[in-house]
Amino acid sequence: MRNVLAITQRELLSLFFSPIAYIVTAGFLLLTGVLVIVTDSIAPGKPATLREVFMWTPFVLTMILPAITMRMISEEYRSGTIESLMTAPVTDGQMVLGKYLASVGFYVVMLATTLVYLVILAIYGNPDFGAALAGYLGLFLLGLPFLAVGLFTSSLTRNQIVAWILATVPLMLLAWFAYYIVASVQGWLRVVLQQVNVMTRLEMFNRGLIVTDSVVFFLGSAALFVFLTIKIVESRRWR
């Protein structure tokens, strides 16, 4: 565990020393700010809720979250630092887990910056804090597999832009495509799309419902991709 935390700490330090952390956070705040405006969430006479903002945030996350993880492993391969890391007494699993925890930690901080909207709502209205809390929990849980996918693609290439595209495109398809076409397909495809349709899962959280099978889905898919990342890193030793 000490090794995992050492990696996490270094990764966070690197993130905050590079412009990427600030660009990503600024981009996220800007986009969610735009969402607040276009959804008329803070307007006289409207219900004091961030439900619509939360509804659209996953689309932003498909682009923003892979930007946090894109360099985490690819950069180690590109710069050769993977050699000193892999010859230190650290297992590949500890390394990947440490990096993953760093990305989750960063995401939590980034998500926390949007609390400002809730504060504004609380000043001018009377928001349902329970539903807001569930909404935040939903976004947090949704981010876990997104970050894991981002870390996974980062382990596949030494080019961070390639890693970003490899993660963003499938995540966009998942978030948008599944949501819009699930009703128009039949058979097994429908069953699969219903399961991976993260938007519908998120809707439940926005209503203030914490559904166990969604929690399991988010945690399980995150664990799957973290596991795959570890396997990729291990297998690259053999090449």
Partner: protein, 312 residues
Amino acid sequence: MIEVRQLSKHYGTRKAVDNISFTVGEGEIVGFLGPNGAGKTTTIRVLTCFHPATSGTARIAGHDVLSQSLAVRRVIGYLPESVPLYPEMRVREYLRFRGRLKGLDRAAREAAIARVVERCWLNDVIGRPIGQLSKGYRQRVGLADALLHNPKVLILDEPTVGLDPRQIRETRSLIKELAKDHTVMLSSHILHEVEATCERTIIINNGRIVASGSPHELRERVSGESKLIAEVKGPHDDVVASVRKLNGVTDLRSETQNGWVRLTLATSADVRESIFKLSTERGWSVRELRRDIASLEDYFVKIVAGTRDASE
């Protein structure tokens, strides 16, 4: 301390390392010498558990590099050839991070950092970001990292490449000093490097060990085939004929210039005295008479060239 048995590493169909075996005893300082692309780094990467071998085994301090990889990684300090470092970190931050990875607790870590910073002359740059440091300083940061947990075995891949002459000398003396309480294995493609620092040399080419021994032993092997150069003034044919008859001359080449006959002899014994005596008997003048002992450099070039010919 290091025990390598029939180790091979293939990249696809290319044999980067082909069935090599060697051992390095405790406290020894061994140089791994070979031209670029000979398989030095590949071997070192197997020893440091960076990648597994295709076949064969390697043990370090009794631990197998494949099955007891973490134990091996705990006892070695490794300086990779390219000295990969995180440019955004400061030297102190980097060493703290590495110390944590190597399992040192806070007190031990700070003590270790103070020790290696002193040893590697890093005091001036401890608070600077690594990205701003010169190549020489980066090399020292890499070395400091390798020494951090006071490892039994130090493996240094091309430790002086890219340094200026003064830094090379400093690094060499540091390595020599380290050899007092560590087993050191260093690789180099420069002969002087190995000759200046190591007790024993392993010469590798095309993935195979072509020679090994102390610099002295290696030189002994070549001195048997030493050349002798003589320049005398006399009738060409007479000179050549009489010198050829001398005991111990195995081959002779000659050329004439302004009445001087220049002889290049391959000899199995030292015939300088006989040539001198012959010359005085015949009344020839002598202006040069010397034995050209093959240097280790020649030997190195010769075996490297030889194995290349043999394999092509």
